[in-house]
Subunit: 185 residues, 2 copies
DNA sequence: CTATAATTGTTGCCTAAACGACACTGCCGC
DNA sequence: GCGGCAGTGTCGTTTAGGCAACAATTATAG
């Protein structure tokens, strides 16, 4: 199967949307193939030509999201810390259903957050070392990074939970102001 | 071509959405096939297997909308006048892009409004005659109907123009109260 | 004016998706 | 128990859509 074929892309996307939708109010194990193909308006046989079962779909979906997200973060120039969050917030805002799923989907291990944290920390420390012109990271800095990044992620998490009712700009501004008033040790 | 084939339906829908989108800020004659297939993510050859040109797409789209709308109005039991507006508002609310196009699309003749008026008036008079137990409609009643229907349509039109920012329920309530305080001659 | 970029219809081949049917499993209520 | 109902995989066939390439016609710019 050629994954660049329009039909394939559309099918994948439709199934992913269907799963994202279904997972918001149902556990992964309770979701049937039947249900998904109905939602996605796809023939059932087509589902099996792409995935083995619902878990397979979910795993590929999570994997895709992580890849895409990593790419999104790394592609962005991100000369400053703030730009990382800009990228994150942009990405989430552009993919609300996927974000809701990965942050609050029922019956999943939530290892996506860990992945996300790792990606952000890596980028964060990279910029940090570059700006401060240092070559290694102290243990203390890692603790501070954890505190700061997890804190910001929790803000974003709450933002998603609130269905993006707070304007995107306000969230960015909020994180900016935290960043600004916060002095690195 | 089997119009009940999923692929056909999806293609048609994608092209209709693309056109609806394009027409909001561009005249029909300025819209290219290329542009539409890009927006719809459809191969250009596929477009030509369904439509002769952009005008053809638009005409079929308008025709479909009118049919569907008529069906929607007539299917609803609509024992009372208010229910007509309920149906209309529901339909519009469920098809925001299409509605915006048909009401405010650039470079079209707006004959859709006339069609809509005709459908509503017919249903309106039907109920009227049934409720008042009369068999014919006086000239005076036609004038009153015009006044009332066009007035309500203009409210709905404004509602669409305002991007549905007023809650649906409020519009319904508004029209209900007008209806209630209004005594038939 | 000219080049060059963009759009237009149309074609033949290829393939992913649609479809319906199949036998099978599991579940629930009578 | 058993009938019915929903879901599961899988298969063969048909077909709409994808694709690339084509010649021809418009813009659009240099």
């Amino acid at each position: 199967m050629n994954k660049h074929d329009r039909r394939v892309k559309k099918t994948i996307k439709a199934l992913q949307s269907a799963l994202a939708d279904a997972m918001l109010d149902k556990e992964l194990q309770k979701i049937t193939v039947q249900e998904l193909v109905n939602k996605a308006d796809i023939h059932r046989a087509t589902f099996y030509s792409h995935y083995h079962d619902v878990y397979d779909l979910y795993e590929q979906m999570e994997h895709d999201a992580i890849s895409e997200f990593t790419k999104f973060i790394n592609d962005n120039p991100a000369g400053h810390y703030e730009n990382i969050y800009n990228s994150i917030i942009d990405y989430i805002y552009e993919n609300p259903a996927l974000s809701r799923l990965l942050f609050f989907g029922k019956g999943i291990d939530h290892k996506f957050q860990e992945h996300m944290y790792d990606i952000i920390e890596e980028k964060y420390l990279e910029i940090w070392m570059q700006e401060e012109n240092i070559s290694s990271v102290s243990e203390e800095m890692l603790y501070m990074a954890t505190y700061h990044i997890q804190g910001c992620l929790s803000i974003i998490s709450l933002w998603i939970k609130n269905n993006f009712s707070t304007p995107k700009e306000k969230i960015i501004q909020l994180i900016y102001s935290i960043d600004a008033s916060w002095n690195m040790p």
